[in-house]
Amino acid sequence: MRFLTFLLLLAFIVLGVLFGALNPDLVSFDFGVTRLMLPKGAVLLAVLVLGWLLGGLTAWWGTRWRKTRDRHAAAHGIRKDRAGK
């Protein structure tokens, strides 16, 4: 399974590099305060990676928040149980 994941990752990296190499032409990006000329393929890849990271971060925060909430609820339940004894 791990080897398969590795192969898939390798394939995507190769595709990414290939995509960057096939789209080397510069595109103008206007950020309001400044204008930048950046390679089309590289920008596309960078934005994809950024989106992927943001998605991961959101999921991680979500899980963490849920666990903290469960822990507080469990602690409250124990205290209530022991008080009601």
Binding site: T58, T63, D70
Partner: protein, 390 residues
């Protein structure tokens, strides 16, 4: 296609894929945490072993909160609640377990068995009986279920059912239940005797002897039946057999046996038998019985001489009291007052004493019980052989 539009379309896709991967990893990690929770389980176990049940409950509660699937944790919690007398909470925990749809059959029967025990503890015997009967019918944990069923029928004094279940248990486990079954028949025989159904009583006694040839209690009930029929000779035989099979029960058997000898006019035979018994039995009852015989036959002096001699061999407060009573008439003045004080003292000493003790669980009692009220074993409550007892 404009690359900016393409990026706009791909960003949400990238975001979603990142979210999905992180979510999957998070789930896997929480699985690993579940393994780490086993350290909590051992901590709870440690508290249990150290008899710190409060802390153990706290740990197990936390475990159960984190991982609602852990059957063992719930079982441990339920048992703990039951042991602490919080039966309603134990019932809730076990009911919750039983109601789970994905529980394996094996675990479900374990939970049902525990739930049955909870019901028994709570006094809901009808519910417990139904549960155990179902388990026994399903052949799931049948020996345990049958043992609980027998305990319920004993409590309800439903001896016919107790006999039936004991027979099933014997067949299933291979362990002999003859001793207990004989006592169930003795209970039935005693009930029949008290209602004047001598034929039924004899039938139950023959069944008792079939299961336990040396059943002391059955011999005693047979003796009582023969007394009712006026056959004192046969009753003497039965009581002597009873002593032969259970010499520890001499204090229980001697009074009716001596009564039979009195009624049949065979006191010489009684004296010979008691002489034989005091060689084998080290309690004070046969000595006191012989003292009474000597008093009536040979006079007070011979009786006191015999009692004094026996008290040197086997010191006993009950014997001392008999000696004080016997010599009270011969003394007067200050000596009599002192004797009275001594008699009161010995009486008070005897009043606070347990005369019987269960050889299985150590339960102390003032009166004799055929079934120990504490551990429910049969014929284990025996007279205590000691200076202040028998």
């Amino acid at each position: 296609m404009n690359p900016v539009y393409l990026m706009g379309a791909l960003i949400p896709l990238a975001f979603l894929s990142g979210w999905w991967v992180a979510r999957r990893r998070g789930t896997r990690r929480s699985g690993a945490e579940r393994h780490a929770l086993s350290s909590d389980y051992f901590r709870g176990l440690n508290y249990l072993l150290n008899e710190e049940q409060d802390k153990a409950i706290e740990v197990f509660l936390r475990l159960a909160e984190y991982n609602r699937d852990t059957v063992e944790t719930h079982l441990a919690l339920g048992n703990l609640f039951r042991r602490r007398g919080e039966v309603d909470r134990a019932i809730r925990v076990h009911q919750h377990l039983v109601s789970r749809p994905n529980l394996s059959d094996d675990m479900k029967t374990v939970a049902l068995l525990e739930l049955g025990e909870d019901y028994m503890r709570a006094g809901l015997l009808d519910r417990a009986e139904t549960l155990f009967a179902d388990l026994a019918a399903m052949n799931a944990h049948a020996p345990s279920a049958l043992r609980h069923l027998i305990a319920i029928y004993q409590h309800e004094r439903d001896w016919h059912q107790a006999i039936e279940q004991a027979r099933r248990l014997e067949k299933m486990s291979g362990e002999s239940q003859g001793h207990d079954i004989a006592h169930y028949y003795c209970e039935l025989a005693e009930q029949a005797r008290q209602h004047g159904a001598r034929g039924d009583a004899s039938h139950f006694l023959s069944q008792a002897f079939e299961h336990d040839r040396n059943c002391t209690r059955a011999y005693m009930i047979a003796g009582a039946l023969q007394v009712q029929a006026g056959d004192y000779k046969a009753a003497i035989d039965s009581y002597q057999h009873a002593i032969g099979t259970g010499i520890a029960f001499v204090p229980e058997i001697l009074p009716p046996l001596l009564e039979c000898h009195v009624r049949s006019g065979t006191m010489d035979q009684a004296e010979r038998f008691l002489r034989d018994i005091i060689e084998r039995y080290h309690g004070v009852s046969p000595v006191l019985a012989l003292t009474r015989i000597y008093r009536e036959r040979d006079g007070e002096q011979a009786a006191v001489a015999f009692l004094t001699e026996q008290l040197r061999l086997r010191p006993s407060v009950r014997g001392l009291m008999a000696l004080i009573d016997a010599t009270m008439d011969k003394v007067s003045g200050d000596a009599r007052a002192n004797f009275l004080i001594l008699r009161d003292l010995t009486r008070k000493l005897l009043e606070g004493q347990a005369m019987y003790r269960c050889s299985q669980c150590g339960f102390g009692a003032k009166a004799h019980h055929w079934q120990c009220p504490s551990c429910k074993h049969w014929a284990t409550v025996l007279p205590i052989l000691g200076v202040a007892n028998e």
